[in-house]
Assembly symmetry: D2
Homo-oligomer: 365 residues x 4
């Protein structure tokens, strides 16, 4: 497969370009009997939607999802679910300035080298608009996991440039357009973003995701460890340059006696490991964190070459997010949901006999 | 698949436990006509082998590889390559102390929850001994990539506990048992490790890998970005808790004008991105870095529970690496080689017409 | 995956039910640079379309395909191609007669057992309407194979009930609604079908497909032999109950001295094998033949049970093909095209070095 | 993957050539807790073993299987199972007569075209010796299916050249070396085979396989119908040229009113469909039949070309089965077992909720 399919058992296959008529996907392998309406998906799409604040792209996209198949009388039938989101505001502008130049930090150069052709309108397939279908598919996975296993998945903005947003008040996340769990710092963030936009520049960010009540046993021992598949999922999001679990890179300086999570009859003492042991979920919260690079589309002029290899200058105008991290939270949550859902099905495929023999096995420690 | 297969086109499927009779794998999809002898693989296995210094496990394993199929008259035939490495020193000792207890930081607890059974001898399938076949298979990928595309893949120890090993003298890496590229710090490292072992404790580490002369065009646009598949590959190595590319987590604090790699007619100005754009290799060096947690098997007593949930104390004796990072360099290199090889084949499957039309396309910028 | 994706490298993932708003698919892995317009696909869809004669379902479906992504300036970009065909004539009728009964020969019973729910409107996902997207995707594969490798794929009706349509005049196939290559028997066929429809009954058929100018080397040695993957492809079409290659079941009575295709400097003497040896295409024509069972929806009353297990009688009214074989030719061709295309890419992924070393290797013997 | 892996969840990956040191495989995804000893596998290997009668190859192979991993204290652990069978009688003889010639009906020509190289010793990877690992892996699948679901899988020789072996006395199958269920015809078969061997010729055969007590619900609606995956599995066996289910090619001449299997409160009236509806198992017996071509290695001289394209004559001496069908029964059974096992896991992955809700759902009608 050419990389537009994610998952082994619960799969999502996406298509669509920034300036084409529509984005779409096929969600295959969903268990039957799950109540599902467009509004269930729409809720998550609305969280990701552009235009929620003045600090993100002003592209006007209602992002209305249509379910084209796989639902009958309000529940999933077990057959393929087709989803479609039309592009409403894909207005064509003048691309003559970027048509023959490679924008630094963008996929222009690599697409040209790989395919010998590229759709230069708005980034084509490389546009972050692609992530709309990840969120749509993720909403289905999330609903199933919540209803059948009680899993909840919550993300938040943990850092933005110089700001360490250390407080974790998950209840506050959906009350602001930054997905910030540290509301005391919102004014300062707001101020920072205003100045950044005026400077025509962009900034990096860190997003944390917590998955709670994940059943123990998800993940495979060798290549498909749950962290490995989550890392794949999260690193596939545009602009992500780093992924870490639990103590992550801090492990480098830790001693074994400091790092290990001891066990008591009441459960694990702490969670340095981020919810996995030997690549398999332990029933603790899964803690994962990603780094997003600053948006490459900025108004600060930069050097580049054109398609003939000659030196050129470039300024990226247009509608861009000055911090891709600001809208990445629902996307990261969706990728975590898709990965956990896939492994939930993989686990019961192989180990249903164990689950039957010890029903409590499915709950956390 | 239950996670013992890696790759889509160039695949490796492994088996074997720490205390079973042998480790083995099947390498499928290797192009025909590649000169391959056991010595080609043995070279890489010897780099990973235990017992190279007093700071790693003293298990005595010659790790002699046998090629069982797929080679005829000294070259690959294009059919499945079977590899076998016998376990020579899998001596059984008394497991009564750990048989019924979950060692903190180990996979004991999660295997028991997932499978309802676990092979408690030496960690069974969860043992890092599993990585021997990754290195064996990786040696084949590395040889093909080197011969046909000139790719070279080099790893080194970049941090160990408090030591930042900042000098990068790749020529020195194979001259010491630490895979350290900063020979000026070897004495201090040696001293640190001696004290650590006496304390019965362990330490984390960071490994960097550089892949040079990688052709542009490797990686797929959406879910199978080259970083995503590399992250999957590297995060699947035992004890890895973080992966980052190029500037990695430093991106969080960068501005776009600072991060982006500008282009000139002589190539990219720098390499903040770590060799990829839009998930596709750019022809620059691929720069990836991983964090490894400290070994969980330490002699510092710790709290745990037994299989009946009762409180217990545990001390892990036996033959263990006090820093898994010390032997991880060849393993990380192997996983990078396997991933690049797989994408090399994937790329030419889809884009052979582009490569034919512009033969220079296969070389770097 | 739950079975809605076909192929490894050139993949098609479909969705849609008979009575939903639309059928659709994602074609992934198509090489870039292929000229492609909706009209290229429409041509094949028109051949499959219902309503071409009075002997097929009278459902009125224009089957207009829309390309939603993956094309830029008239050529494929190498990214996912989204295709959509709206259902225009999915009029709801009264399903109360079949809602609670299992129609014999249909998927009603097995869907209910598998999923605990079924979409009873027009067969839902089990409707042969699903094949519209196979034909759409197949048209892309066929175009690529024709343009780059000169492959041509032609099917025809070889038997219908008692009629053995032995003459093979491929030029006549598209001149009649039966895809019959034996025009001398058309009047008799026509007469037979009129009587059959009056009797409210249905009939089986055999379809042959010939793929010419297939490059040698397609197929993998063990499990993914080219015949194995073609058998999978063709047996997945609704109503197909048998697949054979070359002499097929006649082999059972043949001696080796009679069966084997001897070689001379001018090529193979004959083609008993149907174009493959050891699971790999030989460069000869690939000859494959499928048996289709008679349509299960007939007006002859039959016995069945209802969803509570009680005895019931059933008569299937509505719009049905009295011979599914009549419209199966383009579908079978499409599945052959998809399979060959996938193996074309798989072959060059692994063996591009061989193809480069001996350019003639790609042509037939 | 290059075709040496079979299955999605319960996978087998094989390697090994006729004249190499060993055959082997990795069975991945087996549920934990299954009692498994080498003797369980050996039983099936002994049924396939050469030398059971004078009518098959006289190669002396004990075919002793070794389990290298995945078993602990007598039961499967859920991790990869490595199996190895050494080649004992791979004696090298003089290959100068066939080294540079393409044997008609063999894979010599196509391997040379595909890979640019071939292992000419005994057919290399194309040898039917490859099937030994299918049988070994199939034994595990068969044991699980029998113990957990009561599935039984039985094959027999249904035709051999002119003999239609119409009686089906399954109890007699293992009492003769032909796997013949019609013992009244054994003397005539014996006589026929003696004469055939004297003539240096070979003959085709048909094998039937019956899978009983298969739970309803196995198979996926669209591309991975249970028949499609079984056809793939069976057509991948060396020499198989046709596959049919239930009435198979006889459907071509049937009317719908004759073909359909009506339902009564006591179950299905008959089984024309061969145990599936809409690609999903119905709980009836799965009935599948395959055609095997006559062995290509015969002593009747034939025409061929050498590797330079010049005309040549060829006689194949050596140790060959004059009827590959004679030893194919255990192989066909194994492929059916592997396919059903894979779909058994796939089914419960997606539909465990349905199975839980209606426990009776897992049993047949």
């Amino acid at each position: 497969m050419a990389g537009d399919t994610f998952g082994r058992l619960f799969t999502v296959t996406t298509f669509g370009e920034s300036h084409g008529p529509a984005m779409g996907c096929v969600v295959d392998g969903c268990p039957p009997g799950l109540g599902l309406a467009e509004s269930d998906i729409q809720h998550d799409l609305d969280r990701r939607r552009p235009g929620r604040s003045r600090h993100v792209t002003q592209r006007k996209e209602p992002d209305r999802v249509k379910i084209l198949s796989g639902i009958f009388e309000g529940v999933t039938t077990g057959t393929a679910i087709g989803l479609l989101v039309e592009n409403v505001d894909q207005r064509s502008r003048d691309y003559s300035k970027i048509k023959d130049k490679f924008r630094p930090g963008h996929a222009d150069y690599t697409y040209q080298r790989k395919y010998g052709i590229r759709d230069y309108r708005g980034g084509g397939r490389a546009s972050a608009r692609e992530t709309v279908m990840r969120v749509a598919a993720g909403a289905i996975a999330r609903k199933y996991l919540a209803e059948r296993a009680g899993v909840s998945i919550s993300g938040y903005l943990a850092e933005l440039g110089p700001f360490e947003l250390a407080a974790v008040n998950l209840g506050a996340v959906d009350d602001n357009a930054f997905f910030c769990a540290d509301p005391g710092q919102l004014d300062a963030l707001e101020d920072f973003m205003v100045k950044l936009r005026r400077a025509g520049d962009s900034i990096g960010a860190r997003i944390n995701v917590i998955a709670s009540n994940v059943p123990p046993g998800l993940g495979e021992p060798v290549f498909d460890k749950i962290e490995a598949d989550l890392a794949h999922a999260l690193m596939s999001i545009n602009a992500v340059k780093g992924v870490e679990f639990g103590d992550g890179f801090k492990c480098v300086r830790q001693r074994g006696s400091e790092h290990r999570d001891e066990l008591t009859p009441d459960g694990f003492e702490k969670n340095s490991a981020g919810g996995t042991l030997g690549g398999i979920s332990s029933g603790q919260d899964i803690l994962v964190s990603i780094a997003l690079k600053p948006t490459s589309s900025i108004q600060v002029p930069g050097r580049t070459v054109d398609t003939e290899g000659k030196a050129a200058e470039i300024v990226t105008t247009g509608r861009h997010d000055p911090c891709v991290g600001l809208r990445a939270t629902p996307i990261a949550e969706a990728m975590v949901a898709l990965t956990l859902m896939d492994h939930y099905l993989r686990h019961r495929a192989q180990n249903a006999d164990v689950l039957e023999a010890e029903p409590g096995m499915a709950s956390s420690v």
